[in-house]
Symmetry: C2
Subunit: 209 residues, 2 copies
Amino acid sequence: MPVTKMKATIRSVAIDLFYRKGYFATSISDIARGSGIQKASIYYHYVSKEELLFSILESTMDDLTDYVRENLNRVRDVEERLRVAVRSHVRFHLTRQRENFIANSELRGLSEPNYRAIVRMRDAYEGIFQDLIRQGIDDGVFAVVDVKILSYAILTLCTAGASWFKPEGRLSVDEIAAIYENFIVSGLKREDETISTLSRAASGGIFFP
Amino acid sequence: MPVTKMKATIRSVAIDLFYRKGYFATSISDIARGSGIQKASIYYHYVSKEELLFSILESTMDDLTDYVRENLNRVRDVEERLRVAVRSHVRFHLTRQRENFIANSELRGLSEPNYRAIVRMRDAYEGIFQDLIRQGIDDGVFAVVDVKILSYAILTLCTAGASWFKPEGRLSVDEIAAIYENFIVSGLKREDETISTLSRAASGGIFFP
DNA sequence: GTCTATACGATGATAGAC
DNA sequence: GTCTATCATCGTATAGAC
């Protein structure tokens, strides 16, 4: 569906401000000023500030999920599939940095029904990674690990890039993706020695520090 | 220095509200209500809402740094030192969950000078982990990796626990710490095969997906 | 579609009595 | 130390003219 020019402008100004100042700290006046119109005019395009936030989050989640799914369709090998998923996730987050940063920090701006909608999308997305890890374990490629915890860990660490990445910085998107990808895969492919430390701890025999 | 009872109450109510609703969404009235006093009385104890936030962030960072440093003092072996650092970080974040969550999400509530003060503390803290990783590489225990990127990755993934951890949940603090610890150490100790993938990618010969 | 004008509530913070 | 009362400002959102 086609979007009017001004509606797109408002959206992009909002993304920029939500990213830089945060959703609550950004006022409708700020967005209007950035868009070159009066604040009342914003309401012709969006019914509320929250709807503006929600539309950003929703389409970001949609695009992310589509992008990763599409790339996964081209590969069969489990390890390579996880690598592709990680690489896709990182690429998406670093090239659409601001939207993704918002999607990961401004969920609190949503009312219950909208909040639930985004969380459902996020859960489905996480499921992709959980399935991949489980598959890898079943195939004996990855060590036996806690699938949920590790899927959160993996996604969080890749997502974090969106908060500090600078396009003109030392490393390119693909270099960062490769660093993450290798760290993650070798973290999952652990050897017996390490596993035994895990189960020792997990079964209660903890020593600390 | 001793803190009056009401000052401590206000602080703890604020931590709870900042964690649940966010700094901007929490009003002085909310905090006053939770503390059982009138909102004007808050200003007898804290000069501003921001000072309240800052004092929470500052002491959290202080305590975290002290805690990790103290635990590190008891160990010499590099790999074991990294393990101790990770374990300490996770323990601290999961037992003082709300403060840490705030410390990682509400920096935007600070004015420039306060912001800079906290960032300086955070940089110093990250330095501990960067030194450990560098040491491990120098000693040949860890593979050659990008120290900065991986220190961010490691800290972020451990910190993330503070956003979903539930004390009454399936896993204990120590179990989660052990999972992270093993994942991280085996991620750092990668083998040659993986390293070559990295340098292939890092040197520009990227294939995608 | 965009404007001006405005309703209306909430906010952080202060003054001064007790 | 805590209270009541109040200020000044800013927020989202609406009404209605053009």
